[in-house]
Structures are given as C-alpha cells and as structure tokens.
C-alpha cells in the first residue's frame, strides 16, 4: 500500500526540482507584463551587440516581484492538473485545454492540442508531433505512478516512442517508491520499462554506469553532460536525456533530494525538467517529512504561469486529494 508521506514527497519533491532550475524564473516571468519581457529581449540584444557579459535576468521594475521569487513553474502545475483530472477520459480532459487560449505549454503539448482540434485523436496526436520524444508525459506520469495507474493512455495524447516509454518508467519508479521501495527497486522498475535498443533505454544504462563510477551526484555532472547531451539541438527536453539523468542522480545521491536536485540543475540544457523528475524520484524515496522545510514552503504554492487556473493552489492539498481518493478506492 502506498505511503501518503511518500506521495506527498513525490509531489513536493517534483515542485522543489521545478523551482530550482534557471528556466523556472523564465516561466514565472510570464506572469509579468509583456513589456518587461520585451525589454528583457532587448537587453539580450544589447549584450550581444556591445559584447557585454553582464547578462540580463528577468526583472519586475514597477510590478509585483512575487513571480520572480524562487518557486515552482510549469512542471508542478502540470502535475497538479494531472492529479485533479486523473479519473477523467483523457480526450475529454485535453479537449477542455484545447479550447483555452490562456495556457503556456510545451511544443509537444501545443502540437498535440492542435492535432486534437484538427480531428487527429490519440495516439496520432502524440505521434505526428515533432517533440513526441519530450518528457511532458513523464512529468505527468508522476501522478499516475503515485495513484498506481497506467500512465500510457495519458502519455500518448502528447507523446510517442521515447516520450511514452519515459512516462511508463517514471510511473513505475514512483509507484515502487511510494510503496516503500529503495533506490535499487526504483531503478529496476524504471529500467524494466526501457528496452535497451531504444535511445532512452541505452541512455539510461549509460547514465547509470556513470552514476556507479561517481563519488556523489555533483561529481557525476560533467560525465553525464559528455555522455548524454550532444548540444546540437535548440531544446533540452528530450526524455531520453532527462529521465536517465534523474535515475543516475537518484542513484549517485543515494536517493537524497538535497544532493540530487542541485546536481540536476547544474546541467543547464536539461534544467527545465531534469531537476523536477529527479525531485519526484528522490522525494518519493524519502517522503515529504524528510525534505528540507524551507524548500517545501517555497515550492508548494503554484504560480499559474502555465495553467492560470491553478494560481495560488497548494500542491500539498492536491497530493492529499489524490491520497484520499486512493484510500477511498482501497476501502471500496
């Protein structure tokens, strides 16, 4: 039976990881007025043109500074949305999103919503999709793992191939962790979902070899960068990179979030989601009570920077709702 503390740990651990990476502030700055982001882009150009190394950061000027404080962004919001809609038919749930124009979403999700609107149902919506390989579904799969449910009907809406395998691996790993498994069990559960002849399967095995050689999570960072990331492409959300990094850093840290998540944030290309996935796995392994308290406080409250309807929502409440649903299900 799943531990409530470990489910809370998975949720808040993901939110802490989501808050740690540099992209969180970029996402959260979406809550500021568009002119401040436009000025930010102009300052980038200024730095380029004048050969200046003083790089601009998101800034509030005369607006509320709250969005720019350390806090969770898109991944925590998608986890919350998934937990809340977990019992709904997926096409219906996404259909409601497709009708909205106030969301900020990944390329895979944007294309999938477009596909649904054009009459391409899942799995085509996730397959005919240039970013079918990303980890959007893997992030959402944390909710399915915590609930002991199959993540694939949800994953195939936005992803295909490695993107769906990643969701299966994350759900399996989280399910084992919240049921009381240790690091070794978690990794074995994930690997069982990742065939060795896929990119994600091969990368996961390479990443775990790196982890075995490393003294600790931080020490593993340069070799993970060299072994997994080609730096050829313009985006760093490939599940075949982020999920193997999360597994490797979970191992290298002995399952400790405080060591694993900051190390994940040290891979700038993957800093949008690898820390979040790492936080979910390590948080699920130790449980919520063992997580650093000030980080939990900083990461609990959703900003609404991706899914505006969730602004102000306490992610801990969402986790508790899922736990309560699970207990009612078990009792019935």
């Amino acid at each position: 039976m799943a531990s409530g503390d470990r489910i809370r740990g998975a949720f808040i651990g993901l939110a802490v990881g989501d808050a740690v990476g540099w992209p969180a502030q970029r996402h959260r700055s979406g809550l500021l007025a568009p002119w401040s982001r436009r000025l930010g882009r102009e300052l980038d150009t200024f730095a380029e043109e004048r050969r200046i190394t003083t790089l601009p950061v998101p800034f509030a000027l005369n607006q509320q500074v709250g969005p720019l404080r350390v806090g969770p962004s898109d991944d925590a919001e998608w986890l919350a949305w998934t937990a809340r809609t977990i019992g709904e038919d997926r096409v219906t749930a996404y259909g409601e999103l497709a009708a909205r124009d106030d969301l900020r979403v990944r390329i895979s999700v944007r294309v999938a919503l477009g596909n649904l609107a054009r009459g391409k149902p899942p799995p085509v919506s996730g397959h005919d999709n240039p970013h079918h390989f990303d980890d959007a579904a893997a992030v959402r799969a944390v909710a399915f793992g915590a609930a002991g449910l199959d993540p694939r009907p949800d994953a195939v809406v936005t992803n295909s191939g490695d993107g769906v395998l990643a969701a299966s691996a994350m759900a399996a790993a989280v399910a084992v962790a919240v049921a009381g498994g240790d690091v070794r069990d978690v990794v074995a559960a994930a690997l069982a979902e990742l065939p060795a002849d896929t990119a994600i399967g091969a990368a996961a095995r390479i990443a775990l070899e790196v982890a075995d050689r490393a003294d600790d999570a931080f020490a593993a960072v340069p070799e993970l960068d060299a072994a997994l990331i080609d730096h050829v492409y313009s985006y760093g959300v490939a599940a075949a990179q982020t999920v193997p990094v999360a597994l490797a850093l979970t191992v290298a840290s002995g399952g400790r979030l405080s060591a694993a998540v900051p190390a994940a944030a040290c891979l700038p290309s993957l800093a949008d989601s690898a820390p979040a996935l790492t936080g979910a796995l390590t948080g699920a392994l130790t449980g919520y009570a063992a997580l650093p308290g000030r980080w939990c406080e900083a990461a609990r409250t959703l900003a609404g920077c991706a899914l505006p309807g969730l602004a102000g929502t306490d992610l801990l409440d969402i986790a508790t709702e899922l736990i309560t649903k699970g207990e009612q299900h078990d009792a019935a």
Binding site: V111, G114, D128, P130, F133, S234
Partner: protein, 353 residues
C-alpha cells in the same frame, strides 16, 4: 581498337542476335543514363533555386521575387546536392551490399576528419549522428540518439537510391533505409523511403500520379509521412493553393522546417502541381517556402527522372557546376552529371554479374 573481319561480310545469325542485344542494352542505357542525369541535375537545380527561399513564408517570397524562377547566379546548391553525391559515391562502391556499418565508417573516415571549423549546411540529423559517432555509438543507435530522427536529411539525399534501383521501388526503399539508420529514425527514414521509391518509379517514365503512389506505398499507412502525403495529394486534387497545402501539412507550432513528413509532402505536391514538368515542379516547390532547397531538390529529382536531362531548363543547367564541398569537403569538385553516369554504370556492372 582491333577490328576482326573486313567489315564487308554479312554477320551470321548469332552475331546478329548479339548486335541486337548490345544495341538494345545501349538504348536502355542511354535512356537510363538520360533519366539519371535529369534526376540529379533536377535535384541540383532545385537545391540552387530553393536556397534563398528557405524558411520564408510564401507571401514573403512573393514580396521579394514575385515568383522565384531564376537561380541566383554563381551561388550553386547546398547540402542537398552534396549529400546526394556522397550517397551516390557509396552506392557506386558497394551497390546492394551497402550496410549501415559501411555508411558509418564513411562518416567517420571521410566526412568527419575533413571538417575544419563549423559544418555548413548540414541538417540536425547528420550533425547529431556525427556527434553520436564521435561518442563511439553504432547504428542504428546513432540515428536514434539525437532527437531529429524525423529530419528530412535522408529524404534530401534519397534520389541516388532510386536511380540505382530504377524500376525497383522496394529495393530503393530498402537501400535508403540502410543509409538512413546511421542518421535518422522513424519518420525521417520513412521520408527517405518515400522519395527513393518514387524516384525508382519515376526512372521508368511513369506519370506523376503513379510516382507519388509508389512513394506512398513505400511507407506504412499508419505513419505521419503517409498521412501528410495523402493530405497533400488531396489538396492538389482539389486545386488548392499554397495556403491550403501549408494548412494541410505544416506544423505551425514548431519553429524548424526540416520535418520529413512535411518536406516530402510539399515536394510531392509541387511535383503533382507541376504535372511532372521540371521547371513547373521545381518552381512550385521553391515558392512554397519552408525547407525550400530540400523540397525543390526532391521535386526536381522526381521530375528530372521522368523528363530526362533535356527536361531541365538550359539556363538552370548552366548554373550547375562541380560542387564546392562547402558542406561536405569530401565531394568537392564532383559534378552531378558525372555522378549520374557512374551510378548507371555501377548498376549495369551489378546486373551483368
């Protein structure tokens, strides 16, 4: 050359049969050679014409050129032509015995060492595959490892496989996938297979509708490439324009234009719109924008295979010289017309064995 007999004797019955066979083979050869030359010349011309229109919207193309019909003088082609020549060289060497390991070795030994500074004009798939090769990976993992399996990098160099396996679309599709496993995966390989199979049938002089149907038959019905191709064919049947074609196959929410399902569909749509005429097909493709050098190159390869060398406008042919090796130094100095001849000759050698 030594001559036997006086030349005045009437040849015997056996000799007459031999002469008939030889002349039939020579005729076949001249047709095959003409189509092969037309195919690669059309490809090079499309590459060169489409080059300045790459990544532009049709409206912007119209604003700049009205209709883009002239190759920028002296600029030549891009990676499409050079990678096609490279693929053709490997085919001439190995023919049907080509393996992914041979292709990977060619990248390692002939492409990667000669790159001095940044690679120009290569696609994400080739650059990602070369990074994977540098990391010690082997195909097919090299094609899966990076995230651009769907790139049109294979479709852009698929034509030589169709020339080599003229009339045999299944063999053309098999061979191009052997190459593709090094740099691509999934839809990127399917895009290459659709083009190679279509060129193989275009080399027989088939009508454009039949050629595109052969391309479609080479890929699974339940694939993005097939869905995209069918959607494009339907737009052309309904006499739709650029906007309709873009609506049908372009992924608006993605910033790069090198998706094989999109590029192959636009190229084949342009070829159908042009009715198989080289100039019409290539101009139609270039003016659709997106990955215009690649789509126009594919349209040019299909139409050139069907119409032969004389089908390519002389003013375009005059702009096609030996390639500079800007993208692939290893092919510098090679001319598509010579490469076409070598492809046909190596195919003939293979047939005689």
């Amino acid at each position: 050359m030594t001559r036997e007999g006086t030349g005045c004797e009437r040849p015997g019955r056996d000799a007459q049969r031999r002469i008939r066979q030889v002349s039939a083979r020579a005729a076949t050869r001249s047709v095959a050679l003409d189509r092969a030359r037309g195919c690669l010349l059309g490809l090079a011309a499309g590459d060169a014409l489409g080059r300045p229109a790459e990544n532009l919207e049709p409206a912007e193309i119209e604003r700049r050129w009205g209709r883009l019909t002239e190759i920028e003088p002296g600029k030549g082609g891009t990676d499409d032509t050079e990678y096609s020549i490279f693929a053709a060289i490997l085919l001439c060497r190995h023919g049907s015995a080509l393996t992914s390991e041979i292709v990977a070795a060619a990248y390692r030994e002939e492409v990667m060492p000669s790159i001095d500074g940044p690679m120009r004009g290569a696609g994400f798939s080739e650059l990602g595959a070369m990074e994977a090769l540098r990391g010690g990976l082997q195909p097919p993992l090299t094609g899966l490892w990076h995230q651009h399996g769907w790139s049109d990098g294979l479709a852009m160099r698929a034509a030589p496989y169709g020339i080599y396996a003229a009339g045999e679309p299944a063999e053309a599709a098999r061979l191009v996938a052997v190459d593709g496993a090094v740099s691509n995966a999934g839809e990127g390989i399917l895009g290459g297979q659709a083009v190679a199979a279509a060129v193989a049938v275009a080399m027989t002089g088939a009508e454009p509708g039949e050629v595109v149907a052969a391309g479609l038959r080479a890929v699974p019905e339940d694939s993005w490439t097939a869905r995209s191709l069918r959607a494009a064919v339907e737009v052309v049947r309904g006499a739709g324009g650029a906007v309709d074609l873009h609506d049908a196959v372009v992924v608006r929410d993605y910033p790069w234009t090198d998706l094989a399902p999109e590029a192959v569909a636009l190229a084949m749509a342009a070829y159908l719109i042009g009715g198989g005429d080289v100039e019409e097909s290539v101009v139609a493709a270039a003016n659709l924008g997106r990955d215009a050098d690649t789509t126009a190159a594919i349209a040019g390869a299909l139409a050139g295979a069907g119409r032969g060398e004389d089908g390519v406008p002389a003013r375009w042919a005059a702009e096609i010289g030996p390639v500079k090796g800007t993208c692939l130094p290893v092919v510098a100095g090679r001319h598509v017309l010579d490469v076409a001849g070598e492809l046909v000759a190596s195919r003939e050698r293979a047939e005689r064995i």
